[in-house]
């Protein structure tokens, strides 16, 4: 060994390696602004040496591979935070919409409760006045309408969120199909030792999109990936994707199924998790509180009403239609049972001038008739709960967005292309190329000298 020809081969390996490294640098520079691109680095290794006892000769350099630079832990953190971000984005959006139905005590149910009791209070000052009696019926109707409107708005919002669940499931299925396809392409390339960096980047971007929709766990295996939900429901295994489906439950809402199993309650993060949280937890909780308020108010008013006497001296009848047993659906179905103003039982003793029962009705406004609270305070509690839930979710959204930004910035420093660094690399590889070329020129001169020497001696 150690012949001039061997040195020529060694110099040639240097040229080839420098060419490959320059190609990687060129690709990095070209993709400097490509979203999701991870910079590539040439992996150069010494070629196997040749041993000619007692000496060992190097045989140059080999461009073993071109490797994309990624930090798996950082990517995993980004996925987690993307899931949180998706969850809180959809939750905040739903809660803000929910909040528009609860605007404090100046309008809506709060104002209707105050107006109703004000009208009863006015009636107690002149219980025989038909216009004041009509005022009570009008205020009761307004109160019932407020409950109906709010309850219907909540049902409508729940329906819209339900549609969003179906759409999200469709998007998830589309993305898992893409990931399964990319898994196959990446696996095929890597099995024959090719660089699949671009496809891996594409797959990472699709996984990020999937993470914003649902909680995803990524389990890497040889040349491929397995994706499950955080709870272990398989989404993608190698080249196979597992499609999610939806089925309507007894309440008319869509549940999410995977391979025949209902996984709705297992989905806790991502946009789908946030939507399900709003649809199945937040809105039903508010609906339940509204029903409690409507049923409690109607039952208490009716109880006082039947204990008194109307303008004709007859025993009072229900002012509101009795709410359903258990109270479920009370807010949506609340209505006023009487239209004749003389049927309001303002009298406590059957005489037309008595206002005892009207005062008893008015006294309900300050009594703890709804879970130990008066109606206005109970309603204020609902408003507070909705506002508090919105504020908390909004703070989580802000925190999630800040952390995600920070992690993306960190990822850019690891995987992003630095044009300064690439310029420096280019100079370095160019010099290596020039040096190898110079070695070849020198060996060529030497070979020429050897050939001429042979001619002279021959």
């Amino acid at each position: 060994m150690s012949s001039l020809n061997a040195s020529l081969a060694t110099a040639l390996s240097g040229l080839t390696a420098a060419e490959g490294a320059i190609a990687a640098t060129t690709n990095n520079v070209a993709n400097a602004n490509t979203p999701g691109y991870s910079r590539e680095e040439p992996v150069l290794v010494s070629s196997d040496p040749v041993v000619l006892t007692p000496l060992t000769y190097g045989t140059g350099v080999t461009l073993q591979s071109i490797q994309s630079v990624r930090d798996p832990i950082l990517l995993s953190q980004i996925q987690q935070e993307t899931q949180s971000s998706g969850q809180f984005n959809s939750l905040v959006s739903a809660l803000q919409q929910l909040q528009t139905n609860f605007t404090g005590t100046s309008s809506g149910i709060g104002a209707a409760i105050s107006n109703f009791f004000d009208s009863v209070n006015q009636l107690s000052t002149n219980p025989t006045d038909l216009s004041l009696r009509q005022g009570v019926i009008t205020a009761a109707n307004n109160l019932a309408t407020s409950f109906n409107t709010t309850a219907n708005a909540l049902t409508q919002q729940q329906g819209n969120l339900d549609l969003s669940v179906v759409q999200s499931v469709g998007q998830i299925n589309q993305l898992t199909r893409q990931i399964a396809q990319l898994n196959g392409q990446i696996s095929n390339l890597q099995n024959v030792g090719e660089n699949a960096g671009t496809l891996v980047d594409q797959r990472q971007q699709v996984i990020d999109q999937l993470s914003s929709l649902v909680d995803v766990s990524v389990i890497p295996s040889d040349n491929t990936l397995t994706l499950t939900t955080a709870n272990g429901v398989p989404l993608v295994t190698g080249q196979q994707s597992f499609q999610l489906t939806t089925q309507i439950n007894s309440a008319g809402l869509h549940e999410v199924y995977s391979q025949g199993n209902n996984i709705t309650s297992f989905i806790t993060s991502g946009q789908l998790g946030g939507t399900l949280q709003a649809r199945d937890q937040q809105i039903p909780a508010v609906e339940n509180q509204l029903d409690t308020l409507a049923a409690g108010l109607a039952n208490s008013v009716n109880a006082v009403q039947v204990a008194g006497f109307d303008l004709n001296g007859d025993a009072g009848t229900d002012l509101f239609t009795p709410p359903p047993a258990g109270g479920t659906g009370a807010a949506a179905s609340l209505s006023v049972a009487i239209t004749n103003p003389s049927l309001i039982a303002a009298s406590s003793d059957g005489t037309s001038g008595s206002n005892g029962n009207a005062e008893a009705l008015y006294a309900l406004s300050t009594q703890g008739i709804i879970s130990g609270q008066n109606p206005s305070d109970y309603y204020s509690g609902i408003v507070f709960n909705v506002g508090n839930a919105t504020s908390s979710a909004s703070a989580e959204q802000t925190a999630s967005s800040q952390v995600l930004q920070q992690l993306n910035d960190q990822n850019s420093t690891v995987s992003g292309v630095s044009l300064n660094e690439e310029a420096a690399n280019l100079v370095q590889y160019q010099q290596a190329f020039d040096a190898s070329a110079q070695v070849i020129t020198t060996i060529n001169d030497m070979l020429y000298a050897v050939v001429n020497m042979s001619t002279l001696t021959g």
Binding site: Q77, E81, S391, S394, E396, T398, A399, S400, Q402, V403
Partner: protein, 153 residues
């Protein structure tokens, strides 16, 4: 005003002075919370500790101010005057104070959410530093210490 050399609360003689002092403390608290959020994002523990000490001090200053307001409120209630946040209900600074207090409340909630995330990130780092064999369970060094000192939980 910075609360390092804050006016003693007993020295306030008017509602406007209490309001201005409250606004100043809240502004300082908001700035401190914003600073500690940046520190939390960078996992700069020393800066977080510094900010937390500062926030504790500002919290005390705010409590003292509220106490002054409450004393005045009690006095005013006896005279039939309505007060809120230690100020007369019609005080022009009230809306500004409420907005500042809400801003600080939001920042505190964000801080709480960031703390939970920082705790998670640090736990991952701790376990990574502990070695490949460790699990994502409780801090292994602590477990080892507990084993050496039984009954010291």
């Amino acid at each position: 005003m910075t609360s390092n050399h804050a006016t003693p609360t007993s020295a306030f003689t008017s509602d406007a002075q209490i309001a201005q002092a409250g606004l100043a403390v809240l502004a300082e608290l908001a700035a401190s919370l914003a600073g500690s959020q940046k520190a939390l994002l960078k996992l700069d523990i020393a800066a977080v500790e510094h900010s937390t000490r500062e926030q504790t001090r500002l919290g005390r200053a705010l409590s003292a101010l509220l106490l002054t307001g409450k004393r005045t409120a009690k006095f005013d209630r006896q005279r039939g005057k309505d007060r809120s946040l230690g100020l007369p209900a019609a005080a022009p600074e009230l809306a500004e104070l409420r907005a500042a207090a809400n801003h600080v409340l939001h920042l505190s909630r964000v801080q709480n959410a960031l703390l939970a995330r920082a705790q998670r990130a640090l736990r991952i780092r701790t376990n990574r530093a502990a070695g490949l064999g460790s699990t994502y369970g409780p801090f292994t060094a602590r477990q080892a210490a507990m084993a050496r000192w039984p009954g010291r939980e």
